[in-house]
Amino acid sequence: MRTIQAEQVTEALAKLAVQINYHIGKDMLDAFDKALSTEQSQTGREILKQLQENADLAAQGELPYCQDCGTAVVLAEVGQDLRVEGDLTDAINEGIRRGYATGYLRKSILADPLRRKNTGDNTPAVIHYSIVPGDKLKLTLGAKGGGSENMSRLTMLKPSDGEEGVKNFVVETVSVGGANACPPLVVGVGVGGNFEKAAFLAKKAALRAPASRNADPFYAAMEDELTERCNKLGIGPMGLGGTVTVLGVNVEAYPCHLVALPVAVNINCHADRHGEVVL
């Protein structure tokens, strides 16, 4: 049994929170380059250049990439042979608190959805734990923007709706809400599981690199087809018209009940800020 201190978790997450808000990942920068080479709209290309310039400015460390520094979404994969000395959940939240304070990041979390008072420190994070083999702790942090999250949707399709039904729901979700979600987008799709599993899979998919592909060739082909169909919608960068509406569509699937076909679509904006650390 390996032991780590809760404080190590806090320090690592605080650092990661600042890192991802100031340094947009290489996966996204590569996707911007690619988008710029294919976008047909002049206004669209100018917007993409602004995104590149914005990324360069943010990387200087004075101003975060986007003023909405997001909900802190933490995927914590805890090795079953690892012991954390101290309270892990508290340590994660303390890391977010510290990172958002020292990094001059915006605090957007309200203590209650209806009474709407800001907690002032961007906590609590939304934390998803899973137990995995090994003695490491892997933390994936997403700073998930609120505007794009608002354009996300979930539906329980009938099994007879099939593959086409799933694809249509994804394209329709982008068609209806894409313009308001700061395109070009990264679209995360969760298929199967059940109601909450589909939503979780969609989030996981939305935090994957836009150029990544599902290991299953069936779903990889679906990702390519969905990317192409979404880009035919004409929404374009910032919704002002163009041929790059999405940078990628990522699909994750899971076994499900014989009567069910759940589909969740989690929309991420071009400020797809995510990173990971292994302790």
Binding site: L63, P64, Q67, Y104, G147, A179, L240, G241, C269
Partner: protein, 184 residues
């Protein structure tokens, strides 16, 4: 698609000549306000109270910046989604507002109001928070300080890059721009 360098406050003549797709570099004084500030301004107007800013010719920016570092004017300051302000925007148009800066589609009532009162909707690049912050030369809270990031700020901007996404003639770039590039 023309390109203009404009300075606030905006006149009716300027508002009328702008068309969707035009590029604008905007300078001068603008005001930040979003959800809570809009609610408060409109509630005040309905009670006959004065507005905290000169609304005639004013341009309102829908933004909630991140905290400024010591010595900096402001933090990242990109636009927020406009539709949440749609319930309040027509009332502010009646009070003289000439321009809105934000991102995303608007509802019909807002577009109707823009035609009636000759108002322009400018799109700023959402998420380009650092880039836009560089155009802001001065920021002071002038009202509703208790609202924190949502307080009303006077912002002095220099050549803020914008695109006309909604014009005073009913034009909507979210519809027209998409039509141009949609394929089946």
């Amino acid at each position: 698609m023309a390109e203009y360098k404009l300075t606030t406050p905006l006149s009716d003549d300027v508002a009328e000549k702008l068309r969707i797709g035009d590029k604008v570099l905007l300078s001068g004084i603008i005001y930040s306000a979003r959800d809570a500030a809009h609610k408060r301004m409109v509630e005040g107007l309905n009670k006959g109270e004065p507005l905290p800013l000169e609304m005639k010719g004013a341009v309102i920016y829908y933004v909630g910046p991140s905290p400024a570092r010591p010595g900096n004017v402001i933090g990242a300051a990109g636009p927020t989604t406009a539709v949440r302000m749609d319930a309040y925007a027509p009332r502010l148009m009646e009070a003289g507002m000439k321009g809105m800066i934000a991102k995303g589609k608007r509802q019909e009532a807002v577009k109707e109001g823009m035609k009636k009162h000759r108002v322009v909707y400018f799109g700023a690049t959402g998420g380009a928070g650092a880039l836009i912050a560089k155009c802001i030369k001065r920021a002071e809270i002038i009202a509703y300080e208790d609202l924190g990031p949502e307080a009303v700020r006077l912002l002095e901007v220099k050549e803020m890059p914008l695109v006309v996404v909604g014009d005073a003639h009913g034009g909507d770039l979210y519809i027209e721009g998409r039509k141009k590039y949609e394929s089946t």
